[in-house]
Symmetry: C2
């Protein structure tokens, strides 16, 4: 046996549990013999067809079943789509977590909020290495729209996989800390088995601009403002906050942070020394009334038009302390994430009609992406020279485009695997293949419930939302089997009943005529009676109104 | 009195009933003394917070109250946001309708579908004039993404208003029929009182490209296809269909139209001589199996990822006759309308994973807009030289940008009115002002119901969709006032009940404990009992699950 085993080439198995066919809930398991490590532990926003759902996380049945072999979670950076599932999954399948300072500070904050304890959090820095079972993990600095992002070189006897995480190439980053292209090239020289690379921006030609270009926009617009300046952005973009602070200093304005996550994350970043706000420059929201409008910059959340964010509440005058008004300048330092266009527009429309001057993506360079465009991706491919390529972090359209990009650089088509969630991608030094799959998918989080909302519940929610509900209540005398009250019809979300007398009376008559056909009702008749009531009411309502409300017959026996 | 009246300057009143603060449901009333005309009669898609609603149309209470003074509807072109409300509003406030051939063919089709009869439809052509009461209406050809679009010069004793409708400046249109810039310049020379101008693309610098650039993309990609070619687009863009047909002829392929509106509109356009398909070139969908893949071009709807469209059904293999498969080329000749990004992406993802080659907006010049960009808008302002300016056809962000554009051309700020729906904009030869308002707004169409779904119904639908519904049923003996059955809990869209035994039993116990507090129940107690049941269940469920389902207590008396 053992001689035979030695003849087999070493096998690395890579199992994507999230982040393929979707932009979000990134999670990838690496398996070598008895050891498993997991890269990232992210969440994704629910799709439109998941009403009421707060969050979606990966299904980690595979990890639960192999918990004893799990050596650790390695987190590339602190965005929600890479850490958002931590409070749900870490207690379920505990293991030590590895990440840079800011990343782990954000994970720690999340765990505390969910009262999760006992998970070891191990801070690493770019350049460090960690041995996790058979895996040797090396952390390489990359630029992204959050600080502390790392790419990973994951080495096991089968070879080295480079897992980029989210990244861009910024030659002039705000902290002067460039991506470690040198180390990637070195690894490329010594042989990289596989590249797993961010595909988010693969459809965009050219290069993503440097974060500094956004700073230039601040410097261009700040001197034009005669009143207060509001800048809305993602709270996690510490470098962008730094640039607003720097511009505020330059134009002699105080800075105030508004919005829970903006306040929280900035506080952490200041503690870690990643955000620098000069002494006396930062005001609390209660202090701003003491200053003139032209002495203030307010940095807030809500660049995606989120209902409960700082900007939205200030725009619609529902914020407790600050309203946006005529004379204010508002810079939306973001582009809408696909799906958010309408909510962003709603906020812009409200702001311009309030009389504020609004600077947004259609009008100025208020944002740069955190992800590499085509030429940057090509650079990574060329430097790392992988034998095999697995495009990750993208919808199908992105994965296929990224595969085409790799082929355009000379990668043989058979060396590229476009995988699906749960696929077991098996790599030996000479071969890549999909060798089966593990069960995975989406787990829905709704309030405190994790996984108790499934397809039937969602189908009912959608049905209820489309045409509402009609309840038909009938009381039956147990002894004599006769109807003693009803049919009463109660509706919600259907029509404005007071103005639909005729239709409602028609429906009641339809229900009555169904009941007349039942001379004597005992419990064995209930299923049929309910079915008949549902059918008759459905038919009547569809023919009258072309609507299809949920119909719930309720029989009470007394 | 009459001498005094003569001293008053003539007054034109313009009352926007739709299309301001929104892109859609365009409708504008022009009033001069006893005469009213209405420009356009459009619908808009429901917002996300209007679940189950099919369509939204303008509230025309003002027109109903002044029906005897209404001289006609003038329609600028045949898009839904300009004609979509016709089958609902024309029967309610009938008057003759004026429009070009294609426009009225589309209106007629709509009226027939809704069995509306007795509305005179008067075909006009660009260059014609019509007298409607005190109004002299002149039709001027413009380019747009549908044929037969006209701008209007509306003259009354107060002066001439130019109402552009939707337009772009295409110097090389497919039918060689350029916008009538000469006539606009002539009107500008002789004095234009007011300009009402399309604001859709006012945020975009430069010029909208000619429709011909899309044709060039077809000519570039068609020869690369070795299998079938699918082109998805809006059915109403006759010129685009023409370009696909021309490219098909050039590359020796037959053409097949798939999708109800594609078939219907093309048929009308062929009849009117606006679409030319050479003899023997057009196949029915049943004929395509007789041809090789490389002999076929299939033109279809669904460029916005619409659920029931041709493309979506063919992509997800639910079309009765055609499936898209490996080797097919699919050109999505459109960009997603804001809000449709995700549904478009869903279709692209499905197509690429099927193995089709998909050409979409991120990858090629597959689309041009039908609306004028900044430089084209400036041209119209400069040619027509209006005294007053009213930006229309845009959300607030667009209207404000368009006002800024007008000011940048030298228009005094006080000569611009950014109006709201229902505003009475009063114009004399010397003055523009808002002189009150009329009631207007949105009327929701849901199935056959027009206006019976309002804010309470929508609020309930949203509530139901978020966390579902719990019904608590209690039967009470009338005579003795005691509970004889229940509390029974029935839920829909809440949790997967079979896996939530404990929570459901807990809720039932909470309901029981409420009932225990009522020794004797008569009808006067019902409101309080219901309230108590609702409160107790709500509290219990929120504390257990952080969810807030709708709770409906039902008491049955027997």
């Amino acid at each position: 046996m053992s001689t035979r085993k030695k003849k087999n080439p070493p096998k690395l198995r890579i199992i994507p549990l999230g982040g393929l066919g979707e932009i979000g809930k990134n999670m990838t398991a690496y398996e070598y013999e008895d050891d498993i490590i997991v890269v990232d532990c992210g969440s994704i926003f629910p799709r439109e067809d998941m009403p009421g759902v707060d969050l979606v996380i990966p299904d980690v049945t595979f990890l639960s079943k192999n918990a004893s072999r799990l050596r650790g979670y390695v987190i590339t950076h602190g965005h929600e789509d890479h850490i958002g599932a931590c409070p749900y999954i870490l207690p379920q399948v505990p293991a030590p977590v590895y990440g840079t300072r800011l990343t782990l500070a954000l994970v720690e904050h999340k765990l505390k909020e969910h009262k999760v304890t006992g998970i070891p959090l191990n801070v690493i820095a770019a350049g460090d290495t960690t041995d996790l079972g058979a895996f040797h993990v090396e952390y390489m600095h990359v630029s992204h729209s959050i600080t502390g992002a790392v790419a990973l070189a994951i080495t096991c006897p089968a070879g080295t996989a480079i897992h980029t995480g989210d990244f861009k190439i910024d030659y002039t980053p705000i902290d002067d800390h460039q991506a470690d292209l040198g180390r990637m090239a070195e690894l490329g020289k010594s042989g990289v088995l596989a590249l797993l690379c961010d595909s988010t921006n693969v459809e965009r030609p050219g290069y993503t601009m440097s974060e500094r270009t956004v700073g230039e926009t601040f410097y261009r617009y700040f001197p034009k403002a005669s009143g207060r300046i509001f800048v809305a952005m993602f709270a996690s973009n510490i470098h962008r906050i730094q640039q607003v602070v720097d511009a505020a200093v330059r134009y002699n304005r105080k800075v105030c942070l508004v919005g829970r996550s903006m306040v929280n994350i900035s506080k952490v970043a200041i503690q870690l020394g990643e955000l620098h706000i000069p002494e006396g420059r930062l005001l609390s929201v209660d202090e701003i009334d003491r200053y003139d409008d032209n002495e203030l910059v307010i940095i807030t959340t809500g660049s995606q038009g989120e209902e409960m964010s700082g900007l939205t509440r200030m725009a619609f005058s529902v914020h407790k302390k600050v309203d946006i008004r005529t004379g204010d300048m508002v810079i939306l330092s973001a582009t809408p994430i696909p799906g958010n266009e309408k909510s962003v527009s709603r906020v812009i429309n409200k702001l311009v009609s309030t009389g504020a001057e609004v600077i947004y993506d259609a009008l100025a360079d208020v944002h740069v992406s955190g992800h590499a465009c085509q030429e940057e991706l090509k650079l990574i491919h060329v430097l790392t020279r992988p034998k095999f390529f697995i495009p990750v972090h993208g919808e199908d359209r992105h994965l296929h485009q990224h595969a085409a990009l790799a082929r355009s650089l000379g990668m043989p088509a058979e060396n590229v695997v476009i995988a699906s969630l749960g696929d077991i991608i098996e790599l030996t030094p000479d071969k890549i293949s999909v060798a089966g799959s593990v069960p995975t998918g989406s787990v829905l989080v709704d309030g405190l419930g994790v996984g108790d909302v499934g397809s039937v519940v969602l189908r009912d929610r959608k049905h209820l939302s489309q045409d509402g509900l009609i309840i038909a209540v009938v009381a039956v005398d147990k002894e004599h089997g006769v109807i003693i009250s009803g049919p009463d019809l109660i509706s919600r979300g259907f029509v404005y009943v007071k103005e639909s007398d005729e239709m409602v009376e028609g429906a009641r008559e339809v229900a009555r005529s169904v009941l007349r056909e039942y001379a004597h009702i005992d419990q064995s008749d209930w299923p049929e009676l309910k079915e008949d009531l549902r059918d008759a009411l459905q038919k009547y309502i569809y023919s009258t109104l072309k609507r299809n409300p949920m119909i719930l017959p309720i029989i009470v026996e007394t």
